[in-house]
C-alpha cells in the first residue's frame, strides 16, 4: 500500500504507480475542489461587473505576476528534480535541488510583500471594489498555501540532508512535492484570471 517502498523511476516502461501518498492526494483533490470554487466564483462575479473588473485589473502589475509565475514554475522544476535525484540514488543532489526550490518559494513571498505593499500605499485595499476584494482574498489564501508548502519543503529538506530519501524510499518527498506542485498549478490559474483575462 502506501508504506511499501517502490523503487524504479516512473517511465513508460515501468508499471503505473501513484507517486507519494494516496491520502495526501485526496487532500490535494479537496484543495483543488475548493480553489475550483474560488475560480468559478471569481468568474461569476466578474461576469456581472466586466467593466469594473477590466478597469481595476489595470492597476495590477503584470510583470510581477509573470515573475511570480516563473518563480513557482522553476521551483516546481527544482522539486521534481529533487524527487528524480532521490529515485536515482543521487543523494547529495536532493537537498540542493530542494534548497533551490525553497529559495524560489521565499522569493515568491518577497515579491508578494512588495506587490501588496504598493497597493496598500496607493490606498487600495480589500474593500476598494469587488475586483480588489478577489485579488487580495484569492492571492492571500494562495499565499498561505505557498507558506505552508514551503514549510513542508523545509521539513523534507531536513530529511534529505539526513539522507532519508533514496531509491527505495521516496514516498515522503514525493508526497510533499505533489503538494508543492498543486500550489504552482493554482497560481497558473490565478495569474491568468486576475492579471491577464479581460
Amino acid at each position: 500500500m502506501n508504506a511499501l517502498p517502490l523503487p524504479a523511476p516512473l517511465s513508460p516502461a515501468s508499471p503505473r504507480r501513484l507517486p507519494g501518498d494516496r491520502d495526501v492526494w485526496i487532500f490535494i483533490c479537496a484543495e483543488l475542489f475548493a480553489f475550483g470554487l474560488f475560480f468559478v466564483a471569481y468568474m461569476h462575479y466578474r461576469s456581472v461587473s466586466v467593466a469594473l473588473f477590466n478597469d481595476s485589473q489595470l492597476g495590477l502589475d503584470r510583470s510581477l505576476g509573470a515573475l511570480n509565475t516563473i518563480l513557482l514554475l522553476t521551483s516546481s522544476w527544482a522539486v521534481v528534480s529533487a524527487v528524480r535525484a532521490a529515485r536515482l540514488g543521487r543523494i547529495v543532489a536532493v537537498p540542493r535541488y530542494l534548497a533551490f526550490g525553497i529559495a524560489l518559494g521565499l522569493a515568491f513571498m518577497v515579491v508578494k510583500y512588495f506587490e501588496y505593499g504598493a497597493k496598500l500605499n496607493a490606498g487600495i485595499t480589500v474593500t476598494t471594489d469587488m475586483f480588489y476584494m478577489f485579488y487580495f482574498c484569492l492571492t492571500g489564501i494562495h499565499l498561505m498555501h505557498v507558506v505552508a508548502g514551503t514549510i513542508v519543503l523545509f521539513v523534507i529538506w531536513l530529511n534529505a540532508r539526513a539522507h532519508l530519501y533514496h531509491t527505495g524510499n521516496t514516498t515522503g518527498i514525493e508526497a510533499g512535492a505533489s503538494y508543492w506542485h498543486m500550489v504552482d498549478l493554482l497560481w497558473i490559474f490565478l495569474f491568468a484570471l486576475l492579471y491577464l483575462l479581460r
Binding site: D23, V24, F134
Partner: protein, 249 residues
C-alpha cells in the same frame, strides 16, 4: 463502574453525533431560516427587521432549541477524547486540545444564536439595533472558527498515529479532516466584507465551510460509533484477535 456500563455511556455519547447533526440542521438551519440562505449583510436595517417579523416564530423557536441541541457537542467531544486517549497513552495532549476545541465550539455557536434571539426579542424596536445584534451573532460564529479547527486537526493528527489493527479513523479521513478544519479560514473575511462569496452569506464563508464542518462531523460520528461497537463486541466475545486489538488500542 464496570467496562460494560462505561461502554454503554460511550455509545450514547457517540450517538449524540447523528442526533446533533439532524437537529442542528433542522432547528438552526431550517427553522431559524438560515437555510436556504442567511440574511445578507448587505440588507438595509429595515429589510432585516422585516425578515425577523416575517419569520418571528420560526426564528425564535429555531434558535432557542438549537442552543440546547448545540450542547450535544459536549458528550460527543467527550467520547472522542476518550477514544483519542486510548491512542495517545499516558500524556494525551492531542485529546486535551480536541476537548478544549470541542468545548469552546459550544459557546461559539450557542452565543451567536443568543444574539439572534435577542434581535428577535423586540421586533418593533429601532431596526439599527436589530441589525447590530444580527451582525454580532454572525461575526461571533464566523470569526471564532479557529477553536473548532484545533479540535479537528488534533483529532486528525491522533488518528494518523493510530497503529491499531482497525484504527479509529481511516487515514484518508484524517487528511480530509485537516482540510475541512482549514476550510473555515476564509470566514475571517466576514468581519470586513458585506457582499461577495466571502461575506457571511457567501458560498466561501457559509455554504462551503459549514458543509465541510458537518461532512467531517458526520463521517467522524460514524467511525466513532463503529469503534465503540467494536470494543463492546470484544468485551462480549473475547477472542485472541480481539484481545490483541484491545492490547494495541
Amino acid at each position: 463502574m464496570d467496562e460494560k456500563t462505561s461502554l454503554k455511556y460511550q455509545m450514547l455519547c457517540a450517538w449524540s453525533g447523528p442526533l446533533f447533526l439532524v437537529a442542528f440542521i433542522y432547528f438552526w438551519g431550517m427553522m431559524g431560516f438560515n437555510l436556504p440562505a442567511p440574511p445578507s449583510p448587505a440588507l438595509g436595517a429595515g429589510e432585516l427587521a422585516a425578515r425577523y417579523v416575517e419569520h418571528l416564530g420560526g426564528i425564535r423557536v429555531g434558535f432557542l432549541v438549537s442552543m440546547i441541541v448545540m450542547t450535544l457537542y459536549i458528550p460527543w467531544t467527550a467520547v472522542l477524547s476518550v477514544q483519542m486517549m486510548r491512542i495517545e497513552g499516558r500524556s494525551p495532549v492531542l485529546a486535551l486540545i480536541q476537548l478544549i476545541g470541542g468545548a469552546l465550539t459550544v459557546p461559539v455557536v450557542s452565543i451567536s444564536s443568543v444574539f439572534w434571539v435577542a434581535a428577535a426579542y423586540r421586533p418593533q424596536r429601532a431596526p439599527e439595533i436589530t441589525q447590530a445584534l444580527t451582525d454580532s451573532g454572525w461575526l461571533i460564529i464566523d470569526t471564532l472558527w479557529a477553536c473548532t479547527t484545533w479540535q479537528m486537526v488534533a483529532a486528525a493528527v491522533a488518528g494518523l498515529h493510530d497503529k491499531s489493527a482497525k484504527p479509529l479513523f481511516p487515514r484518508w479521513l484524517c487528511f480530509v479532516t485537516i482540510f475541512c478544519g482549514l476550510s473555515f479560514a476564509p470566514a475571517t473575511m466576514t468581519g470586513i466584507l458585506k457582499t461577495g462569496p466571502f461575506a457571511w452569506d457567501g458560498v466561501l464563508s457559509f455554504y462551503f465551510p459549514y458543509f465541510c464542518w458537518l461532512f467531517w462531523f458526520a463521517f467522524a460520528s460514524v467511525y466513532m460509533i463503529l469503534e465503540v461497537a467494536r470494543r463492546r463486541q470484544a468485551l462480549d466475545f473475547p477472542s485472541p484477535s480481539s484481545s490483541a486489538r484491545l492490547a494495541h488500542a
